[in-house]
């Protein structure tokens, strides 16, 4: 199968290559066609003569002369000007020899026939030249269409990639496949100089890319290489767009001593121009992305500094204050006051611990160190773990957990998923009145498990449901409470690492619903589901 495909590609390649050469170099063509057309012309004229010979008495000589225009016209369309001219000469000679009295002689009895010959020749030559130039124009138009199609194809392929090296590879593949010409693309390295980012494997470049020439072409923006030496060198074409050179396209030899035709060279320049535009586009996109990243990291750094200094210093201040009171006013303090101070120390330490946990979680997510340790888990168990961790915070709250019997196990990292759930739950607790209920609902979907946590708190505005999960974003409504705006961002990071999504919805009449959707890992779970039934 593969062999067949290779063979087909080869045929197509040689065909196109031949056509390209054929179209732009008629002189070469005539030579290449050889004597074939002339033999055919002789045969046609001979056959026509034989055909006309028998009923020759029925025709006027002029009619016969007109019929001799047929081979001229045919060969003009079929083989071009020269065979057509040959046909007209041969036609006149045959006409004179066989049909003009005296027959079988080139002598002419009536001088008026000489005028006929002249008229015939003029008409024949005109016909031949008109027809052959028409044919040439048609071929030219076809060639242009083909070229336009090729360039369109290549530019479409290039529009789909976002990486300069990939563009280089497309150009190289395209040149190698379409023309059978080995090629390489050089792009500037990060530091200095050019490097080959793509090189055709088949056919391979016969000689090394010369870095000096490549660099010259890159800096001067001019084509270099061909024609200076008897043995064809590589052709270096700059990838140039509006005075900026983005790299160099290097073309090898076509495989014969004749080298690249001027046509192919024009084509190469067109392709190089296209590549330059694409590389320029990629560069611009890259720069835009970098700019966005820089702004984003600037924003995050500021937020991080703010939240670190505030969120860490506040509990430290509280601890130091409480400790100072305990130390200096030891004797004067009543047991209630002492208890309050100890509680302050404890709460402050826990708050610092929360912050550290979240910062570590964030760093782990950002640095890509979050590795999932997926195992088959009962979703109810994960909820149980999260509720266990929230035990104290949930005191005095009615918590309704609804897990349908039919919920089959899922492949998740239970530690991380419990963490995500804890983050959602502690927001629910934090931003809703003491004693208000919290509801956890599990919905088994065909391809996912959906977990919803609903509270009856301050709610969320429809406008900010997307922002809620951004790092360091805190809704204006939450200003009265301390916080860093990391909890939901970490939750989202964990859920996305599972291939799932998390979103917020305003609940009616009040409160917020946070939904976590974790996709199922198909095969294994289905297998487990069978066991689960028994």
């Amino acid at each position: 199968m593969r062999a067949f495909r290779r063979a087909r590609r080869k045929t197509r390649r040689t065909l196109i290559q031949w056509r390209v050469l054929d179209a732009h170099a008629p002189a070469v063509d005539a030579r290449r066609q050889g004597v074939g057309p002339y033999v055919a012309v002789v045969a046609m004229v001979g056959a026509l003569t034989a055909l006309l010979w028998i009923p020759r008495h029925l025709f006027e000589a002029v009619n016969i002369a007109l019929l001799y225009l047929l081979p001229v016209l045919y060969s003009a369309v079929k083989w071009g000007l020269r065979p057509a001219l040959f046909a007209s000469g041969l036609g006149v000679m045959a006409f004179d020899f066989f049909f003009i009295p005296p027959i079988f002689s080139y002598a002419v009895s009536d001088v008026r026939y000489l005028i006929s010959f002249a008229v015939f020749l003029v008409v024949a030559v005109l016909t031949a030249s008109l027809a052959s130039s028409l044919q040439q124009k048609t071929r030219e138009a076809e060639r242009r269409a083909r070229m336009a199609a090729l360039l369109l194809g290549i530019s479409r392929r290039m529009a789909r990639v976002n990486d300069a090296a990939a563009i280089g590879q497309i150009v190289v593949d395209h040149v190698a496949e379409t023309w059978g010409v080995p090629a390489a693309v050089l792009l500037p390295k990060n530091g200095e100089g050019l490097e080959v980012v793509a090189e055709s494997a088949k056919p391979p470049l016969m000689r090394q890319v010369n870095p000096t020439i490549a660099s010259w072409v890159y800096h001067h923006g001019q084509v270099a290489g061909y024609g200076t030496k008897p043995r064809p060198e590589l052709l270096y074409v700059p990838l140039k767009s509006e005075d900026t050179v983005y790299g160099v396209l290097c073309l090898g030899d076509v495989g014969s001593a004749q080298g690249l035709s001027s046509e192919l060279r024009l084509m190469a320049e067109a392709v190089a121009g296209l590549a330059a535009i694409s590389v320029a586009r990629v560069k611009a996109e890259e720069q835009a992305r970098l700019a966005v990243l820089t702004t984003e990291s600037e924003r995050i750094r500021t937020a991080l500094m703010d939240s670190l200094s505030h969120e860490l210093r506040t509990p430290v201040t509280a601890i130091l204050g409480a400790v100072a009171s305990l130390r200096e006013a030891w004797v004067k303090l009543g047991s209630d006051e002492m208890e309050a101070l100890v509680a302050t120390i404890r709460d402050s330490a826990l708050r610092m611990n929360r912050l550290i946990t979240n910062l570590l979680g964030m760093v782990r997510l950002e640095s890509g160190m979050m590795r999932l340790n997926r195992k088959i888990c009962d979703i109810a168990d994960v909820i149980g773990v999260a509720l266990g961790q929230m035990e104290e915070a949930l005191e005095g709250r009615p918590v309704a957990v609804n897990v349908p019997e039919a919920t089959s196990p899922v492949m998740v990292d239970e530690v991380l998923l419990a963490q995500a759930l804890v983050n959602v739950l502690s927001n629910a607790v934090k931003y809703s009145p003491d004693g208000s209920p919290i509801e956890i609902h599990v919905e088994p979907l065909p391809h996912a498990v959906r977990l919803s946590v609903r509270d009856y708190g301050i709610g969320v505005d429809a406008a900010e449901v997307d922002k809620l999960f951004e790092k360091f974003y805190r809704s204006p409504k939450t200003k009265p409470w301390p916080g860093t705006g990391l909890g939901l961002a970490i939750c989202q990071g964990i859920v996305s690492a599972h291939g799932g999504r998390v979103w917020a919805e305003p609940a009616t009449p009040r409160g917020t619903v946070i939904r976590l959707e974790i996709p199922r890992a198909q095969a294994k779970e289905a297998n487990i589901r069978d066991h689960f039934g028994d």
């Binding site: 826990l350 929360r354 109810a380 773990v385 266990g388 104290e392 239970e414 607790v429 990391l486 961002a489």
Partner: protein, 248 residues
């Protein structure tokens, strides 16, 4: 009773010393792994608290060295989110672990459980855990006086957990004890399924289990029978969520 604390942080050692001495334990200290190894045999401790992150030797190395010569109970001091470390320490012979930052109540409960197992008490034939009464001679389990009907596997699982009440048991340990030595972590889903069944039969609220607790990423732990408060406090630091977020 002597407890050896091997931790490089002076502050942690100081706090632990005060805490443990207040409970009537004698305390020996070591700040490096090498010193800890010496003390482990010189001080004849009844229980060792061993930090995983030591400056000279890793906690695992110290654990292995001690285990080669002694079965003294060892409780590892680990950090949160390092489940692999916990499992590895348990596999290497640690009795249990507490995650930093840990609460005093949690640590003392672990020490009590470890010391009890160390004492080689004959396994109690009747065990009371929360509302659950297990009579292992009669293979009889009841909850608030009502009989609980268990399948043989559920019973074996419950028994293994109960005989080690208060200790964490890894998934692999439970699988091999209950299903047989050929089981490995790949069969962990059976365990989860049966724990789920068991909880439905013995817990008041299976979604908020209090008898069989999940140690995420590690295994299961049955509530220690002497935790007399019922319902018990949670086992994470002082019951407070250690990882609750602050974001909106």
């Amino acid at each position: 009773m002597t407890i050896l604390v091997i931790d490089d942080e002076a502050q942690i050692r100081r706090v632990l010393k005060v805490l443990l001495q207040a409970q009537g334990y004698r305390v020996a200290e070591a700040s490096t792994g090498a010193d800890g190894l010496v003390q482990a045999f010189a001080a004849h401790p009844d229980c060792i608290l061993l930090d995983i992150g030591l400056p000279d030797l890793s906690g695992f190395e110290v654990l292995k060295s001690i285990r080669r010569q002694s079965s003294v109970p060892i409780i590892m001091l680990t950090i949160r989110d390092a489940e692999q470390d916990k499992v590895q320490a348990l596999d290497l012979g640690a009795d249990d672990y507490v995650s930093k930052p840990f609460g005093a109540r949690e640590l003392l409960a672990r020490i009590r459980v470890a010391l009890r197992h160390r004492a080689h008490d004959p396994s109690p034939r009747v065990l009371q855990v929360g509302p659950l009464t297990m009579d292992f001679d009669r293979r009889w389990v009841s909850r608030r006086g009502e009989p609980v009907h268990l399948t043989p596997i559920e019973y074996a699982l419950l028994q293994e957990l109960a005989l080690n009440a208060g200790r964490v048991l890894t998934h692999q340990h439970l699988l091999q004890k209950v299903w047989g030595p050929h089981c490995d972590d790949g069969d962990a889903h059976y365990l989860r399924i049966y724990v789920g069944h068991l909880r439905k039969k013995i817990e008041d609220d299976p979604t908020r289990p209090r008898i069989i607790l999940t140690e995420p990423g590690v295994g299961y732990r049955m509530m220690a029978p002497d935790e007399n408060a019922w319902p018990p406090r949670a086992t994470s630091p002082e019951g407070e969520s250690a990882g609750s977020p602050d974001g909106s």
